[in-house]
């Protein structure tokens, strides 16, 4: 069976149905473009064809290019030719002399939308699940199928730019409103009828850009208004990207230059920039992690096999604080019945009110209805009674980080549960194996480490204790996917994976401060490295006093074992801030920053005296290296120790868990990109200059010797 079905009816209208055999989705590759090209040749040769409708035989229309092929390309000429070939093909389609209508039965993204843009008319089914957009930038690429030329010529430079720079995905109605889609249809039949009607009424359509009288909506790149836009657009983009995303620059160049040249030259320019993106290290990083590895995780690569997929119907949450309340919200949102338990009814109600607040916000934005809100809230029962936990298939404990309290609630909850129920702790610091000692059924005991705020953070770190069974892990995994988050699987150890590695980032920042580096320059180095927040600011968020509490707990634990802790040099800064300077963090309104009411935070002026500037101020790149190497080396150690077993979990956990620079593709991919040998060499330099924490993980030294990389 061909990937493109060719059906000509009595009116001379050819319907091309894209339906690639053996795939659930159509993707752009030679398997599709080959037969598609043949079909166009047939249309070109057949004078009796009166019009063309392009639609899909799958649920979605066409989700984009074959990423696998793009990922493997290293020769810019090959990428250039690929883009040129696809565009030549689209050009033939739009200039075939017959009306061509895209009948969008579902999602059209990337190359899929570019195909639709090369049609004269676009009708889409108004399905709220269908998405339309050019999201290539999210993988470090750009629309190479003429998207950067057609979209701005269709809707204007100003509105088109953000769609491509941010990779925004629109719903059908939004795309209609913005002029990307011409007409909405209720269902498939209606869509095809509308397509036919348009063909009948428009026998000789010409694309706007092929019309001799074409005028750019909102002006071309030379118009004074757009000249001003071009002056500030790079600054606006860099304010977010810190210049770390070459695709962002390249997209701007395509649109800018295309706004000066004719359409066909603009297309060629686009191919050159596309090729530049394809072979860039950043796109390789992002595709490798955020496409292949993430897809692998979502398909269950870290889930033990042989257990039927489970769903949680009733969930008990112990502790209605910020974390518990967030867990209740995300669970109720996917239809799980939740019991939110706390020691007082007030506290439990407050936890439930958290969901109400979020829902109110959504309602204000028009994303939620009163009925939807009521329905979701009805699924959350705020209570103080352990009896209400009866029938729960999963309990998540989110009480204070204290072993005694945790043991107590574990026993009380288990008393109400069936033997098959899973008990999970949301601890971020206490080893799971130890906590499981309080459980009657340690095989059913697991760690589910959520991130704050739960409704926004995409990751859950699943912690496997010594006695945790494979089935329990599979069920934990299923639950995380049920609430539409990404699970990574981690073995039990102090700080697990994400907390342990994340800590190296602020601690390195604190060390730089202790060394007399300018606090603002330290913060900027973090941002320039691609981290979402500077190291000092993030330490304020975490709270210096909480860190101090953990430091002291660790000291006690070690002392109990008769050992002393080899402390990070940043610890002295935490101690000084909390104990001498009374600057416990953001919650107290005073940490490294001051938090004046109604004004943006700013660095505390007292830092100048507390941590006087050194004469020698380091270059930004030196600080950037230290901040990134500290994290990556710790991640490599975790991988080496088996704390986190797969490369995918290590990379995705670093990006989703603590915000490791996405353009680096995660902590281990960063090492790959630097090169194992270079990484080891540079680490040794850093070790010599700044201390043992930079000593490269043994695994890295071994891999460098063997010429290996993380695959």
């Amino acid at each position: 069976m061909s990937a493109v079905q060719y059906n000509k009816d009595a009116d001379g209208i050819v319907t091309l149905i894209l339906d690639m055999p053996g795939r659930s989705m159509n993707v752009l590759n030679e398997e599709l473009t080959g037969p598609f090209s043949d079909a166009i040749a047939k249309i070109e040769a057949d004078a009796s064809v009166t019009g063309v409708i392009i639609t899909s035989g799958k649920k979605e229309f066409l989700a984009g290019a074959d990423i696998d092929k793009v990922y493997k390309m290293t020769d810019p000429a090959e990428a250039f030719e690929m883009a040129e070939a696809y565009k030549a093909f689209l050009r033939r389609l739009e200039k075939c002399g017959r009306p061509v209508v895209a009948a969008l039965n579902g999602t059209a993204l990337g190359g899929g939308l570019e195909l639709a843009l090369a049609c004269h008319y676009r009708v889409a089914i108004d399905d709220p699940k269908a998405k339309f957009g050019l999201p290539e930038v999210k993988l470090g690429l750009l629309p190479g199928g003429g998207g950067t030329q057609r979209l701005p010529r269709l809707m204007g430079i100003q509105p088109a730019l953000p769609l491509m720079l941010e990779g925004k995905e629109l719903k059908a109605a939004q795309a209609r409103q913005q002029g990307i889609i011409h007409e909405l249809a209720t269902d498939k039949e209606d869509m095809l009828a509308k397509a036919r009607a348009w063909i009948a009424a428009n026998p000789k359509p010409v694309q706007p850009w092929d019309d001799k009288k074409f005028k750019w909506p909102g002006g071309d790149s030379k118009s004074p208004a757009n000249a001003q836009l071009w002056a500030i657009a790079p600054s606006m983009a860099s304010a977010k990207s810190y210049g770390n995303y070459p695709a962002v620059t390249n997209i701007m160049s395509c649109v800018f230059e295309g706004g000066i040249t004719d359409f066909d030259t603009g297309c060629r320019v686009e191919s050159r920039y596309f090729a530049n993106c394809v072979v860039s290290q950043v796109s390789k990083n992002m595709i490798g992690s955020l496409w292949f590895q993430l897809n692998g995780i979502n398909k269950g690569s870290s889930r033990p096999q042989g257990f039927e997929r489970s769903t949680v119907k009733k969930l008990g949450i112990l502790g209605a604080g910020m974390m518990g309340a967030g867990i209740a919200y995300v669970s109720a949102k996917v239809g799980i019945e939740c019991v939110l338990l706390d020691t007082t009814q007030d506290a439990a109600d407050k936890g439930k009110a958290y969901s109400a607040n979020l829902l109110d916000k959504d309602m204000k934005k028009g994303r939620q209805t009163q009925a939807g809100k009521d329905e979701l809230l009805a699924r959350i029962k705020a209570t103080t009674s352990y009896d209400d936990l009866k029938g729960c298939d999963l309990i998540i404990e989110a009480v204070f980080e204290d072993r005694g309290i945790k043991a107590d609630v574990t026993r009380k909850a288990e008393a109400q549960l069936e033997k098959t129920a899973v008990f999970a702790s949301n601890t971020s610091t206490l080893p799971i194996t130890g906590l499981a000692e309080a459980s009657e059924r340690p095989k059913n005991f697991i760690g589910l480490h959520f991130f704050s705020p739960v409704d926004k953070m995409p990751l859950v770190e699943i912690i496997v204790g010594k006695k945790t069974s494979k089935e329990t892990l599979a069920r934990g995994f299923d639950y995380v996917q049920q609430i539409r988050k990404t699970p990574i699987v981690v073995n039990d150890s102090r700080g697990f994976y994400t907390s342990r590695c994340f800590g190296t980032y602020p601690m390195e920042g604190l060390t730089l401060l202790a060394e007399g580096q300018h606090p603002r320059a330290i913060e900027m180095a973090g941002l320039q490295a691609g981290m979402p927040v500077g190291p000092l600011a993030v330490q304020d968020e975490v709270s210096l006093s909480l860190s101090m509490h953990i430091i002291e707990q660790t000291r006690k634990d070690y002392a109990a074992e008769g050992k002393t802790v080899a402390e990070h040099p940043g610890v002295a800064v935490t101690e000084k801030m909390v104990k001498q300077l009374d600057r416990p963090g953001k919650k107290a309104g005073k940490g490294f920053y001051d938090y004046p009411a109604g004004a943006p935070k700013h660095l505390w002026a007292g830092l100048a005296e507390a941590f006087p500037l050194a004469e020698q101020q380091l270059p930004q790149q030196e600080m950037i290296d230290r901040l990134l190497y500290a994290q990556a080396n710790e991640a490599a150690k975790c991988h080496e120790e088996g704390v986190v077993e797969t490369v995918a979990d290590t990379n995705i956990g670093s990006i989703f868990g603590w915000g490791f620079a996405p353009f680096q593709g995660g902590a281990l991919q960063f090492i790959n990109a630097v090169g194992l040998e270079n990484f080891v060499k540079r680490s040794k330099q850093l070790e010599k200059k700044y201390g043992a924490r930079f000593k490269p993980a043994k695994l890295l030294v071994k891999m460098a010797k063997e010429g290996k990389r993380f695959e």
Partner: protein, 402 residues
Amino acid sequence: MTEAFIYDAVRTPRGKGKKDGSLHQVTPIHLVANLLWALQARNGNLDTSLVDDLVLGCVTPVGEQGADLARVAVLYADWAQSVAGVTQSRFCASGLESVNIAAQKIGSGFEDLVVAGGVESMSRWAMGSDGGAWAMDPRVNQMTGFAPQGIGADTIATLEGFSRTDVDTFALHSQQKAAKARAEGRFAKSLIPVKDLNGMVVLDHDEFIRGDATLEGLAQLKPSFEQMGQMGFDATVLRKYTTLEKINHVHHAGNSSGIVDGAALMLIGNKKIGRKLGLKPRARIVQTAVMGSEPTIMLTGIGPASKKALKRAGMSEGNIDLFEINEAFAAVVMRAQRDLDIDPAKVNVNGGSIAMGHPLGATGCAILGTLLDELERQDKQTGLASLCVGAGMGIATIIERV
């Protein structure tokens, strides 16, 4: 090397660069022609066929101000057909660049007599309307960290700790000095009234100066660059100036150079041609210098370029009697004074571009002329003129009376 001498210097008054400005009625080529005619008349009905070249600066060479305005101005002014003409842009330094090119032409011995200067009708052709890769091409813009000059000036003030009152006070002094100089007729020697084709005077005085300015009045003005800074340009600066947490936006229309129309020219030649024409040299061009500086802050090139010129001339700051430093923005001159460690009393004694305006292509030549007039008035010997330049450059010229 042949010595280059300034034989004469002329300029138009500076007209407000808006539609109600007096010179908005006049074409830019006519502004130049007025000065060419004046030069000819003032220098013994100069035989223009002895002039090798007309070098003009023009920063926004578009429309009727575009292409090679210099050559066409020669023809329009009915100077000898043999006089060539070239138009160049070194952004805000273009007027002084013309003088420097002329000095180099003479100094090399390749030419004998050159007219140099510049013109800008900012009211007719808005600054920036010629585009350019730096601001317009997003790739270049991003790679080099483009930010408008005002953002750079505010950054200088932030780095140097100049408060709003500091820069406003500087601006007030500029107004007061310029008003006094105008009242005392100190500009009269070089100022050529602009006349229309009927010979009727269109403008005979600098009309931008506001001698009645007050500190209170200046304090009322809104910062000009705060909004665009917040839209993204501040972030661009902060990525380079990593010790700054935010930019203090202190500059506004009252403490930045004014947008005006105007032109300026100088007659520059070697000793021999002066003798031949019976002209008396007024000053020798001792040294010229240009150099690049960090482009995002853009406006810190004055100190380094001036030092370069002084060093090459075997001089030091102390050897200079008077300075003209273009008042692009108050903080620029304040910073330059610090960089050069010079007494502010020696700088811009008759005010500057904040009071009089900054006709981009002409200013460099105009302030050098003002400097020469003032050296003669005070009977002093040496002067240095310098300007900060777009995309991060500085220019300096040292002259010495003869």
